[in-house]
Structures are given as structure tokens and as C-alpha cells.
Assembly symmetry: C2
């Protein structure tokens, strides 16, 4: 067993009629825990609540989620905590129940081992052929419709690269298959717009806020791939691994720059933590 | 309970680690059964197998699915049979297991009652505000990533219309939220392209084949909304309800034409069956 689960606070399984399975009608959060404490828990819960509001069903009370965490997350060591919230069980058909009773799943599993070089030297990234469909109504949400990311990851099988870079149908960069992307271009920190597709990452938020506090506000913009190739620094972020420099994107090689190191020392995990 | 389920042939529930729930990593078929027999079963199984091939996991053996049907579908009366096939349980992360063990769910529930007027006079359809994202890699598949359809259905709440019409991001018509669309334009039968989004419906296939047999081949094309407004006849199709005329689309009113009636008498269910 990779992960232990609670379903609505019980050690049970999922109803086959759950709309999370039927339609991907729900949201998830993937969180890093150390010694029983979840990093960025407030940000995760805020994003979850905002997503539930967009999808039109009530978010579980934070006290319930904190209760699940207390019961399942070990008090020592590092682990990954996955929270799934769906609109719950419904009769067949896309139309949601008038009074949804959301399903809440919390799972705890191992934190992936990563060599320290992921933080000190960086990772290899390859642009995927798959392009993300654009839908402003869903953009930013960490929803359960993730087949595009699955197909993109399948492109990487056997390639030896650590992460795939995804473009949208318009040809602009969105981010990695599992992370957001930042670049330093002409001294300015930039990150792709996620208004048409992509995920509003918790670590993305932390980096944007940290840069603002450092007096170097992040510019959010439509980024062509060429802007990434020409960047002085590239790094990727997610809530589980923190901040990792990109040492190679396709055939372009990058050093680990001062901005990346500074943000790693404030926010990044592993060797920089 | 709306629907009775078998999970891998057993009366059990779904593993919380199933990738169908985590990512919508799977496919489904919604089928009409009468007296224990599934309409268009061969077409459903062929579409399922083709979808599994695209997603890169093995389709369940048809004999297993037929066995589930024999066990669960009543020998009399009308019902709806829903089949879900996912890539199965996996460790956390988008990367699929090297050797997937798909999960197969079969559920049997009631066939929705519909007044005969749905077939004799037609249904009311309204164009949704939500636009479908475009992704040729997923277009045509009846996959489990259906949040767009859920949001579109939510637009219709309280409107009194029977079905929503969906356009893609380029502004072309794709079909209904739960069905495919056909139009008769200048005497020719046309249906929207589903190369960028939309579902390759089983009933769509049956209609296209039937029209070809009648010497009136269907033209598959990019259809602007205006082409629907200007059509002589409009009808929608799915495997559960068969063929229903559209009597109203937004503010345009349509009669039930000869082509629609002819196809209903060959393929359509309910009053025309």
C-alpha cells in the first residue's frame, strides 16, 4: 500500500456513484508534511474553498480536515498528504444534486526521495507535444480533470528528464506537468498567466508574495517558449518539492542563478531548507 | 439507491487510490437496455476499446463485461447501464503504472421517464455560455474528465430547457451537453466535427451509417451557430434516448422534418420505436 486513506473520516472505500469518479467533479490538494505539520496549510485550504465556490458546492469545514490530518499524519518524518473533495454521490447525469453532500478523502503516503542535486544543480525539463486545452471557467483550479497531465507524463516515459513543460493551444507556456514555472528575464521575475489553463499553485503564490516582499514584484504574462529559452534563470515550484532550478530545458542549458538561490533559502525545501 | 454497481465483478466499493477518481483517468459508456439486451453493445465495446488504446491501457475482455451485464441487468423492462473503466489503482502522481490493472465498474439504474412529446414535437435547447476547451488528443473519447459538461448543465438550472448546446473556443458548435447534434441544411445532413473536442457518440455513428445506407451521406464539418439557426431540421442523438427533434434552439423554432422522422423510424426509440 502506497497511501493510507480516510473517506469522510472513516477507513472506508469510495461509492461507485461518486461524481468525483464519474466526472472528475471535484478538487484536490497535494501537501507536504513534516513532523505532523503541513506546510502552507492555510493556503491549501484557501485555494480549496475558492475552488469549491467556483464549482458550486460547500467546502468541508477546515476543522474536519484538520481532524483527518491529526488522525492520519505521523508526528515525525516527512510525508505527502493528499486531500480530495468531490461533489459527492449523485444520480446519473451531469446535472448536480440540488443539495450536494461532498465527499472528503485524505490520504497520507511517502514523500518521494530526490537527490540533493535537484536543488543544487537543477532538473532537466522537456517540452511536451501535448497542448493544454483552454477554458477560463476551469483555469487555475486544481480540479480532478487531469487526463492532459497523464498523457503529457506518458510522453516522458524513458526520456530521463525530470519534468515536462506544457504549452497551451495558443502556443504560450503554462508550466510543468506537476509544477509552476518562473523565469528571470532581463532581471525581472516573470511567470505564465494561468487565466486560460494551468493551476494556481500554492507554491506559486508563496513565491509571488515573497518576491513582492523582496521588492521584486513578479510579472504575470503570456510567455512564449522562446522567452524561456532566453531566460537568465528558470525554476519550477510546487508545494511538495518547493523550488527547483531548471538546468536544462530542451537543448538550452541554464546555471543556478542568484534569484533562484535567494528564493530557495527563503522558501525552498531539501538542501536549501 | 439510484444505481446498483459491480466493481471488478464484485459488490464492492472503489479504492480511494483509483486513478479514475484521482485524475479522471478512464472512460465510460452509458447504454440503454431493454429486456436484458443492450442496444448497440458492439458499438459501445468498440468505442471503449479504441479509447483504451488511445489512453494506453488494456480494455477489459468483452466476456467480462458481458458477464457483468448478465448478472446485473434485469431480464425485463428498460434500464440504463453505465460502464466505467479506469486505469486502476496507482501510486500518487500523474505517471501511469508500467503495468496498469484497469478497474471495471458496471452500474444499472432506471431509464429516465420522458414524455412522448420529446419524440413527436421535440425538445428545447439553449446555447451555453461555457465554451469547450480544445484538445485533439482527447477529442472524441468518452473519458471521465467531464467538469465542462457539469458546469454547462449548471447553467441550465431553472431554465426549463431540456438540453444545452456547447460551442468550442473557436466558436463552432460541438453538440449538446449529453448528445450529438445533426442538422438538415439545404437538404444535406450535417453534423459538427469532433476533431478538437466533443464525444464520438454511439448513436452518432448509427445515424451516420444509416444515412449512408439511405444514400444521404452525412457531411462532418465545422458548424457555426448561425448554420443551426438557419437549418430546416435539427435533431439530437444519444444511446439512451435515441433521436429527438429540436423544436426550439435559443429563439429559433423548428418543425419536425421528414429526415428526422425517417431516421427515428429506423433508429429512434420511444414513440417512434
Amino acid at each position: 500500500v502506497d497511501t493510507n486513506w480516510l473517506v469522510n473520516g472513516e477507513a472506508t472505500a469510495v461509492d461507485p456513484a461518486d461524481r468525483g469518479l464519474a466526472y472528475g467533479d471535484g478538487l484536490f490538494e497535494t501537501m507536504a508534511a513534516d513532523g505532523g505539520e503541513i506546510r502552507w496549510l492555510a493556503y491549501h485550504l484557501q485555494r480549496l474553498a475558492a475552488g469549491c465556490a467556483v464549482l458550486g458546492f460547500p467546502a468541508p469545514a477546515p476543522a474536519l480536515i484538520r481532524g483527518d490530518i491529526e488522525r492520519l499524519v505521523p508526528q515525525s518524518g516527512a510525508c505527502v498528504v493528499k486531500l480530495i473533495v468531490t461533489r459527492g454521490v449523485g444520480v446519473r447525469g451531469y446535472r448536480p444534486p440540488a443539495v450536494p453532500r461532498p465527499t472528503r478523502l485524505l490520504g497520507v503516503g511517502p514523500r518521494p526521495d530526490a537527490p540533493p542535486e535537484c536543488y543544487t544543480q537543477g532538473i532537466a525539463v522537456q517540452t511536451c507535444r501535448l497542448r493544454l486545452g483552454e477554458n477560463p471557467a476551469l483555469a487555475g483550479l486544481k480540479h480532478l480533470n487531469r487526463l492532459e497531465q497523464v498523457l503529457a507524463q506518458m510522453e516522458l516515459a524513458g526520456s530521463g528528464v525530470d519534468e515536462g513543460l506544457l504549452l497551451d493551444c495558443s502556443g504560450f507556456v503554462v508550466g510543468g506537468t506537476t509544477c509552476n514555472l518562473f523565469a528571470v528575464v532581463g532581471g525581472e521575475i516573470v511567470t505564465p498567466s494561468i487565466e486560460r489553463c494551468g493551476v494556481r499553485g500554492v507554491m506559486r503564490r508563496a513565491v509571488i508574495e515573497s518576491c513582492a516582499a523582496l521588492g521584486r514584484p513578479v510579472r504575470v504574462t503570456d510567455m512564449p517558449l522562446a522567452a524561456c529559452y532566453d531566460a537568465e534563470e528558470l525554476f519550477v515550484t510546487n508545494a511538495v518539492f518547493g523550488i527547483r532550478p531548471v538546468r536544462r530545458l530542451d537543448s538550452c542549458v541554464f546555471g543556478v542563478g542568484e534569484t533562484t538561490r535567494q528564493l530557495q533559502s527563503r522558501l525552498g525545501y531539501a538542501s536549501s531548507a
